[in-house]
């Protein structure tokens, strides 16, 4: 059926672990080369940590699955330096429309704010995203990606894990300090370890079809409730790369998935939607039942779960892969700090704490959308339709219409790694626990973006007051020494300057004032960013002591005193 994409077949490669009589040890083994596992390998490579990725298959996603990749995901891939091919191939969009029966009831714009490097969303078939990740990984020495290596048996231990791996050339055994499990929603390893991902299955079925067509529809997310062409059910239309369009059609619980997936049955449904004179070709189709569920704990000794294996959501809101990449972003630097012995092992607990909060939020939002789309009983249908009816004429009701609350960066506002603001020091800006906000800047004589220079290491942004530069400059060496991790100081000036910045510091300029406005900067204000670009703390005045203790806190050294 598929004509726009042919799945690459990656060869099995012989590797030296196969020859060894005894188990070879690796610090980190990642199971699964979906978006999660691939990104995980890259994240660790950025931190200088080598990893082995094992995948039982020899190709990228078969069929499209995820299509919407959110700004935060793109920012993370930007940090790995591999976002360009995705942006080039992907379709950029930020607007959406919601229809009820014949009428447009609601329109939205996901990035009303201008001047960010990356768009609110791109639509890109999951197989392309994975393929580009694989191609980039091939250029990375630190990532050893092994196709056709299936993990068949896991023996976890408090000191490390033992894995049995099957390949076309026979099986072998590996040991590792940490096993990162990214083997997908059905996670065979989760099952083998007797762990249960808990949540709910939604009693509904959806036909997901990708069609190739030349169409005049705008590049917007269009969602219909009860449209004339598909009465009583919902429908979605969204453009992807290669003139491929994603169509979701709600079918109801009683639909027969085996019948509905046949082209002969799909065609009339699509003709009703697109019009009989539209020429289209079916690329791929599947019938899904969705669920929202997660593990109670993502960490079991030295086995760490991520991606769909850890937390799974219904696709309304595009929070699956987008949530997974944020989990990777969260775990990478923490695991690296522990392996480099710069942070205590308790730091890993905060991966669980922070990403459980995020998973709860993603599940909550996906569940609410799914419940709105599939009302559970008569009265919820009555309220749903009343909301849609009112939304035609009354603005307030539009905010209740829920066809998916699209993925936004998680905010870890209650994280134990945050240093709280001094009372009333800030009224806005970017609060501790939130991901960085991008803004245009100038470095030297080139325009650039804040998001390009934050992350992978701790970063300290100082809106420097010219009169303060010598005081800050004097305390910097001591600060950089005391923190015990890599920390990049960035001096931000409101206009270009020939003032000498202290050695080791980077100098940027904010001539348009976007950084100042988004971060609510005043002369002297500092922001400390974690390696995942999340704000760890902020102050109105630079003092070495408060910074050192904030870095230590962000590394988990205060965790012991936690209840």
């Amino acid at each position: 059926m598929q004509t726009t994409f042919e799945n690459p077949r990656y060869p099995f490669k012989h590797h030296s672990d196969l020859n060894q009589g005894t188990a070879v040890h690796h610090p980190v083994v990642i199971v699964g080369a979906g978006p999660t596992g691939l990104a995980m390998g890259l994240d660790l490579a950025m931190q200088g940590i080598p990893s082995v990725i094992l995948d039982d298959n020899n190709t990228v996603s078969v069929g499209s699955r995820a299509i919407c990749f959110a700004k935060r995901t793109l920012e993370i891939l930007n940090r790995y330096r591999c976002v360009s091919p995705m942006l080039e191939k992907g379709v950029t969009w930020k607007k959406g429309k919601v229809f009820f029966q014949q009428d447009l009831v609601y329109e939205f714009d996901l990035l009303p704010e201008k001047k960010h490097k990356l768009p609110a969303f791109i639509n890109l078939q999951q197989y392309y995203l994975e393929q580009y990740l694989v191609e980039f990984i091939d250029t990375q020495q630190q990532v050893d990606l092994r196709w056709l290596n299936r993990v068949t048996e896991v023996t976890p231990g408090v000191k490390g894990n033992r894995l049995k791996v099957e390949t076309p050339e026979g099986s072998y055994v590996l040991t590792c300090d940490y096993m990162l499990v990214a083997d997908g929603a059905n996670s065979p390893i989760r099952k083998q370890l007797g762990l249960e991902s808990r949540g709910q299955v939604f009693k509904d079925r959806f036909l997901i079809a990708d069609v190739l067509m030349q169409a005049e529809f705008p590049t917007e997310r269009w969602f219909w409730f009860d449209p004339p062409f598909h009465p009583n059910q919902s429908a979605l239309l969204h453009r992807q790369a290669d003139d491929v369009w994603r169509i979701d059609l709600q079918l109801g619980w009683d639909a027969d998935p085996q019948r509905e997936v046949l082209e002969a049955n799909i065609r009339p449904r699509l003709e009703a939607m697109l019009g009989e004179d539209v020429d289209f070709q079916l690329e791929w189709a599947s019938v899904y039942t969705f669920q929202c569920r997660k593990l109670d704990s993502f960490i079991h000794d030295r086995v760490i779960f991520l991606g769909d294996a850890a937390h799974q959501v219904s696709p309304f809101g595009a929070r699956g892969a987008n949530g997974a990449i944020q989990s990777v972003d969260n775990l990478g630097w923490k695991l690296a700090s522990v392996l480099k012995q710069q942070g205590p092992t308790t730091l890993l607990k905060t991966y669980d704490i922070e990403r459980q909060m995020a998973a709860d939020e993603n599940i909550l939002n996906s569940t609410r959308a799914t419940d709105f789309i599939t009302p559970k009983n008569k009265i919820s249908r009555v309220f749903r339709d009343a909301t849609l009816q009112l939304a035609k004429d009354y603005e307030f009701a539009r905010t209740l219409v829920n066809s998916g609350r699209l993925s936004t960066p998680a905010r870890y506002l209650d994280s134990p790694l945050n240093t709280l603001d001094d009372e009333e020091a800030f009224d806005g800006g970017v609060a501790p626990g939130s991901a960085a906000l991008d803004a245009p800047i100038i470095i030297g004589d080139k325009t650039s973006w804040l998001i390009d220079i934050l992350g992978t290491r701790f970063t300290l942004l100082i809106a420097i007051d010219k009169t303060d530069i010598s005081r800050v400059g004097e305390s910097l060496p001591e600060l950089l020494q005391s923190v015990g991790v890599d920390l990049v100081p960035i001096f931000l000036f409101s206009e270009s300057t020939d003032l000498e910045v202290p050695k080791g510091a980077m100098c940027i300029c904010d001539p348009w004032g976007y950084v100042a406005q988004r971060y609510q900067l005043e002369p002297g204000t500092c922001y400390l960013f974690r390696p995942d670009q999340v704000v760890a703390g902020r102050w109105r005045e630079f003092t070495s002591d408060s910074l050192i203790s904030a870095v230590n806190r962000a590394l988990g050294f205060d965790m012991e005193v936690m209840p």
Binding site: K378, I379, V382, Y394, F396
Partner: protein, 70 residues
């Protein structure tokens, strides 16, 4: 408690009469629909989630209580 449960109507009798008049000629499913619209309109007017939660809780008490006593 933020929800006002003391008298707040400017004209309670007249509201009650109008509510009955609205429903008088409706069948059950029409009444359901009208009630849903009414609740949504009033909820938005109230806005404050704390007040709404308190109202939801009191409204549900009659049935949750009988549910528990079974």
């Amino acid at each position: 408690m933020k929800l006002v449960t003391q008298v707040n109507f400017t004209d309670g009798d007249s509201f009650y009469e109008a509510l009955m008049a609205l429903h008088r000629s409706l069948d059950d499913s029409q009444s359901l629909e009208v009630n849903a619209r009414l609740i949504l309109l009033m909820a938005n007017h109230i806005g404050d989630n704390q007040v709404l939660k308190e109202a939801l809780e009191i409204a549900g008490q009659s049935v949750t209580a009988s549910h528990q006593s079974q």
